[in-house]
Amino acid sequence: MCSLGLVKLTAPLERVLRVLLADPVAPHYGYDLMKAANLASGTLYPMLARLQEEGLVDSQWEDRSPDAGGRPPRKYYRLTAEGARVARLELAHASTASASTRRVAARPAHGTPGSAL
């Protein structure tokens, strides 16, 4: 019910969700998110595509004629209502979970989880 479905909450995803949640109604374009979440395009866009597939994020083309300022129209992303709800729950869950894993990870035998990407 309150899960991201097929999407696992990785550190980069957590950063993106935090940026999107900071102002849930504000639209963000790709480069904006890359800078705010400090992610490479090769990490961000597959993530956005999966979030969109799950219905947690929707996108919208910028409403402006292409020759208005010489700049082509951008695609903007923002959380859906469901996405905002799920993101809040997941982030709250993650912050309590990380507090408890930090105690567990103090033992040196604990291996570092490899990056899934």
């Binding site: 890359m34 395009s41 090769g42 595509a49 082509p72 951008r74 695609k75």
Partner: protein, 198 residues
């Protein structure tokens, strides 16, 4: 402003090439979305040096290549879940090695050429320091590649003399191609060379 145009065009070409991996119905829209981000990167005043903005834009388009590879793999998996889809994914993962190294090589080459051309355009006099500096760098790079080929126990895909000719024929490009795909890393080359000796 005019200096960023060639970079933007190169990045657009790279993005368009990456988008060819996507299914036809989403290709045009994705391509449009990602190309529209390039002006934002190239005009990003928080990055002060124009050359760093150019590098950022090229890295962005390299990331798009990774993105489309992942998206096409994901859509392939959902379209044909089964042995065929799995094998397809495994094969594309294996083929990504030399291909992605080649992409990095092309990007490095473009950055080098871009830096050299802008430097020479600013100082067109053949006796000026940038000209001599570039010649010295080119000679040093060629010498490095030739020595590396001579000392390597084995090289990939082509015989050693062919790689040496390629390095000499196109000064930064040939050497970069050799380093990206022809060179065998030390860790990989050690076991076969010791096995050959006895």
């Amino acid at each position: 402003m005019s200096g960023t145009e060639p970079v933007q065009r190169i990045a657009e070409v790279l993005i368009r090439a990456s988008c060819r991996r996507l299914p036809e119905d989403e290709r045009a829209e994705r391509c449009k979305e990602w190309s529209a981000e390039l002006p934002a990167i190239l005009d990003d005043t928080s990055i002060r040096l124009p050359i760093l903005r150019a590098v950022r834009a090229l890295r962005y388009s390299a990331g798009i290549s990774r993105t489309t590879r992942q998206l096409s793999r994901a859509s392939g998996r959902s379209a044909q879940a089964g042995a065929a889809g799995w094998r397809d994914g495994a094969m594309s993962a294996r083929a990504a090695g030399p291909g992605s190294r080649m992409t990095i090589g092309v990007i490095v080459w473009l950055v080098v050429i871009f830096a050299a051309v802008s430097l020479l355009r600013a100082h067109p006099d053949p006796n000026s320091w940038p000209f001599i500096l570039l010649l010295a760098l080119a000679a040093a790079f060629d010498a490095f590649c030739l020595i590396d080929i001579a000392r390597a126990s084995q090289v990939r895909y082509l015989p050693k003399w062919a790689w040496a000719l390629i390095c000499l024929a196109q000064c930064p490009g040939g050497g970069i191609v050799y380093l990206c795909i022809g060179r065998v890393g030390r860790a990989q080359s050690a076991p076969p060379s010791s096995a050959q000796r006895p």
